[in-house]
């Protein structure tokens, strides 16, 4: 075996010695991302809900009720509650998240979307139904949403219990956001913790890719969420990286500039 191949395998073992995500414990489990919510004066969040079971089975025209459970979490990762949504027999239902955030759900900052299990109805060949779909974010009533798909395959629901699926390693490693931060702009990096452990993240920032400035670290509980914000001045360029034990410390990035915004996964 070539030395380079041995070196790569050794590094892989050191840094990623398990799968990126765990397999759910139960065959009947369904998987979802943890989708960030942005609400307030300037923001609205919507979710594009589809009949995923039908799409897998090859027919989404189903007169039987199709019920989907939205689970909501606060920034500490506590499950606040859930809402059951029915998709009428249509192709797509756009869910305004603010309409669901009442009573105990007011403090929600993330949500996951669990479809009815398809296991038993269709041969899934060891796979699990997954909601990795699309959140639309609208800024300042601009009338057009920025869409971003699920970023991490974060949680499974089986037998009514939520199981975090993300893995983390022993060694802290960097995740460099592959995006040049250009000013004037405010950048918000939204993290969720898909693991069952508390995770610490240390942001680093540089203006020249040579001198990295270490910023104050923050921690997230299991299924918790944190937003790291940076203002970039006019004509300034910068890069950020995040040090953590997360296998994939990838945030959702919001760039707000010139009364508009851009959203993507970092």
């Amino acid at each position: 075996m070539k030395a380079s191949k041995i070196k790569r395998r050794a590094k892989l073992f050191l840094f990623i010695n398990k799968n990126l995500t765990q397999t759910p414990k139960e065959n009947s489990a369904v998987i979802s991302d943890l989708f960030p919510i942005k609400e307030g004066n300037d923001w609205h969040t919507e979710f594009e809900l589809l009949n995923v079971s039908g799409l897998i089975a090859g027919d989404n025209n189903d007169s039987a009720p199709y019920l989907v459970d939205f689970y909501f979490y606060d920034c500490q990762g506590n499950l606040l509650g859930s809402k059951r949504i029915s998709i009428e027999n249509i192709g797509r239902k756009t869910i305004k998240i603010i309409d669901l955030l009442i009573d105990e759900l007011k403090e929600a900052v993330t949500f996951s979307v669990f479809h009815p299990p398809i296991y038993g109805k269709t041969d899934m060949a060891g796979s699990y139904l997954a909601e990795r779909g699309y959140c639309g974010y609208e800024y300042q009533n601009l009338g057009v949403k920025g869409y971003v798909h699920g970023n991490l395959d974060a949680v499974a629901l089986s037998k009514g219990k939520v199981q975090p699926l993300g893995n983390s390693g022993l060694i802290r490693r960097y995740y460099t956001v592959q995006h040049c931060l250009r000013g004037p702009a405010k950048y918000e990096f939204v993290f969720t913790n898909p693991t069952s452990k508390k995770i610490s993240i240390t942001p680093n920032i540089t203006l020249d890719m040579k001198k990295w400035r270490t910023m104050e670290a923050f921690t997230m509980n299991s299924l918790g969420s944190k937003t790291f914000t940076i203002d970039i001045k006019k004509s300034e360029k910068a890069y950020v990286r995040f040090k953590s034990k997360l296998y994939l410390g990838r945030p959702v990035v919001f760039r707000v500039s010139n009364d508009s915004m851009d959203v993507f996964h970092g």
Binding site: F15, N61, A130, Y134, L142, G146, C180
Partner: protein, 260 residues
Amino acid sequence: MFFPLMKTPNLKGFCDLVYEGPNNWENRIRKPVQIYLLWSNGKIWNSRKIMEMRVGSEARLTTEDVDEECLATGLALIYPSIKLLAPELAALPSKKVWYSEIPAWRNTSGFYNEFTQVSYQADIEPLPPKASLLTFHPFIQFGEVINNLLVLNVTSDPKIQSGKLSMYNSHDKSHVADSVVSTNSLTTIPLDIFSFKPTDLPIFYSPNIAGIPFGLGIAKSGKMLSLEHTHPPASLVLHGDRRGIQGKIKKSWIEKLVKV
């Protein structure tokens, strides 16, 4: 690994290049690289050296920086190379220079206008010359917005071939329209003329040309742009035999759609 510089009507395209891997353990390349622009004329891949980049450097390339002929197909590729390339290539280079897996080494591509920009974490590897595309498109927007479907295709072979892209309504399986997509191109298809409703989930199907489909929304005011790729059917499931499931999903839908 290639990075797309894309052109679509009424917007300018950009690609921000950063010579810094996304993690600190996988690909620790430090050598200077030559940044090439590659574009197909249907017979060969043309290559033009744009610059040299050293580790830690960054650069932005826009559609305003390159000649129109390079973007005749709506697409030019940016390729970091260790070696100098010939000006004409029979196939795309196979050496992966900026490359990692967890996560994939990407750069930011997107579009901009006088008001705003929209970004996409982009990388593309050549697609098989014979492959199909089936995808569901859940983000057509309504109101003061222009909706386009973009289909990005790259093959190693420089030939530009066109094929049919059919649109259906997933719910009643009705055929909506046919359009054309091309290899080694960014194809822009306006969607608003098809009058999809907010409760519709369109399906796009091409029997012989694969690609990465995007929904592009442009506010009529110009003040907001929206760009996101649709998923292949395999993304509806995780773990297990995803490829096998994707094959089954495609077969099941295609059988119904083709009957229509």
